[in-house]
Amino acid sequence: MSRVRLIETTLLILFGLLLAAATVNDVTRQTHVNQRLIDDLRTWRAYTHHDYHNLSIEQTLFGERSQREVVCGNTTPGAPKSRIQVCLAIWGPVVDSKRVVHGGWYLPTGTEEDLRRHRYGCFGPASRGICPTAAEAAAEHRSTSAGARA
């Protein structure tokens, strides 16, 4: 059985090395992602001139691996999401610890989730195809009004 044990131990060591490499790689990758997110938050604060800390970051709107983020935060002081929010679509290389804002949109007071139908006041190229069309916005407004009456 010692030969079996030797093979098992060899395989265990090799697999352990693989797991260790995967872990180190993932920590490094996540650290880079975190650094990018820090730059995105800094970009939002610089763009809006608000030094708010309760900001939300959406990383998947433009694709899982796009490295394009959407950062949302209040336009006036208040609890998170309790005010009108401005969302900025941010991507590109880091220059002076900041990235480039390619557009954005607003969300009404009390909006928990950044859904297409909630967006308005869209601006910049990033909002193309992301924001509702005029017809969709009108339909949303009608359904909201009907809901309010009911």
Binding site: M1, L18, L19, A22, T23, V27, Q35, H53, E64
Partner: protein, 393 residues
């Protein structure tokens, strides 16, 4: 710390400040290093009575401090309580509805967002065990859950001590390797996870085999599996190694009785453990090793085909372990390897899952199991540390 009712507000009088994630990470790293040094020192230390008292005192202190404190890291305990309150207070079957069915209940606010629509995945024995706590209100139920975890932890540690002695191992080392383990204390006990109840029943089953009570051992494994299904993996190794039919009869008897109780209490959904397992095995957590390996090989994450490959790998490992057990390998070690393989190949890995093999690892002669278990735990902790290098705020 997860959002939680103030159950340990009186500790605030001792001073200090709210625990941030960064401080928590530094503390868990320090605790892990201290744990490693402790185990290394124990290896070089000779056994004596004062060391025994010191070890028991340390483990008791750790358990009691965490018991007295707030819920740590996970919201799972609020899900347990929500399922209990669904059944007891609201008359809703937790096997067919998620906590979203009790939006107005005080516990709903604390349930993790990902689990609001998810029906319970736990076995009927656990659900029935949790029902009395559902009637105690939010804070009373929470303390009840913490008490269950503490008692289960005490039973696991006592049995680890006893079984280590009976199998000729260093019982002090065994006690400290489990009872002072940072993942066991902080994540397992701190989160009041029902995995501790499963571990206690697992150790009861091992203890029964040492007394040649195979029927009771088989029955206990089944009861444990109807708390949390994973522990069922012990049964084939036990049966194969013991080569006695009593364990099979005991298991079948317990399965029949518990299934009947589950069916009477919850209907067919209460005994359909397979569906719940299939559903949960499709989840992916960022800390799982398959997810890390996918990133290493340049993939964005785990794909459905990977789930099939992982299941195939797990089956091969279990078959190899069964063959080894048949050829005389320690069935307890084989069971521990199988539990470790389940956690490593799972795409949904949480800290308390890598506790499963630990009590078995300290009562086997094959030291590779303990080294592998602690290595996997160390990798898990290391994987948490990226916020230390680039804190997002």
């Amino acid at each position: 710390m997860p959002r939680s009712p103030q159950i340990s507000g009186w500790l605030g009088h001792l001073g200090g400040e709210r625990l941030g994630y960064r401080v928590f990470l530094i503390a868990i790293l320090a605790a892990s290093v201290a744990y490693g040094v402790l185990l290394a020192l124990l290896r070089a230390h000779t056994y004596n009575a004062s060391l025994t008292r010191w070890a028991i005192g340390l483990v008791a202190l750790l358990n009691l401090v965490v018991f007295a404190g707030p819920i740590l890291i996970s919201t799972d305990v609020f899900s347990y309580l929500a399922y209990a309150r669904m059944g007891v207070v609201h008359g809703i079957d937790p096997y067919t509805h998620g906590p979203v069915a009790i939006v107005g209940d005080p516990v709903f606010y604390y349930v993790g967002h990902d689990w609001l629509h998810v029906a319970t995945a736990y076995g009927p024995v656990y659900t029935l065990l949790s029902y009395p706590l559902g009637a105690l209100g939010l804070v009373g139920g929470l303390w009840g859950m913490k008490l269950y975890a503490l008692l289960a932890s005490a039973a696991t540690l006592a049995l680890t001590w006893s079984v280590a002695r009976r199998r000729g191992h260093d019982r002090v080392f065994a006690l400290l390797a489990v009872g002072a383990n940072p993942l066991y204390v902080i994540y397992g006990l701190g989160g009041a996870h029902n995995d501790l109840i499963m571990l206690a029943l697992m150790m009861v089953a091992v203890a029964f085999t040492l007394s040649d009570r195979d029927a009771a051992a088989g029955a206990t494994v089944v009861v444990g599996a109807l708390v949390k299904a994973t522990v069922a993996v012990l049964l084939p190794f036990m049966v194969l190694a013991r080569r006695r039919s009593a364990a099979v009869y005991g298991a079948l008897g317990a399965l029949g009785l518990c299934a009947l109780a589950g069916w009477l209490a919850f209907g067919v959904h209460g005994i359909d453990v397979v569906s719940a397992l299939s559903r949960d095995s499709a989840f992916v957590s960022t800390d799982s090793f398959p997810n890390e390996l996918a990133h290493l090989f340049g993939k964005p994450g785990v794909f459905p085909v990977d789930h099939d490959l992982l299941k195939a790998a797990l089956v091969l490992i279990v078959i190899h372990l069964l063959w080894r057990t048949w050829r005389g390998y320690d069935w307890v070690a084989a069971s521990g390897w199988a539990l470790l393989a389940i956690s490593v190949t799972s795409t949904w890995l949480l800290a308390w899952y890598i506790l499963w093999p630990l009590p078995l690892a300290v009562i086997t002669r094959d030291r590779r199991l303990l080294v592998a278990t602690l290595f996997v735990q160390a990798l898990f902790i290391a994987h948490q540390t990226s916020p230390l290098f680039a804190p997002v705020s």
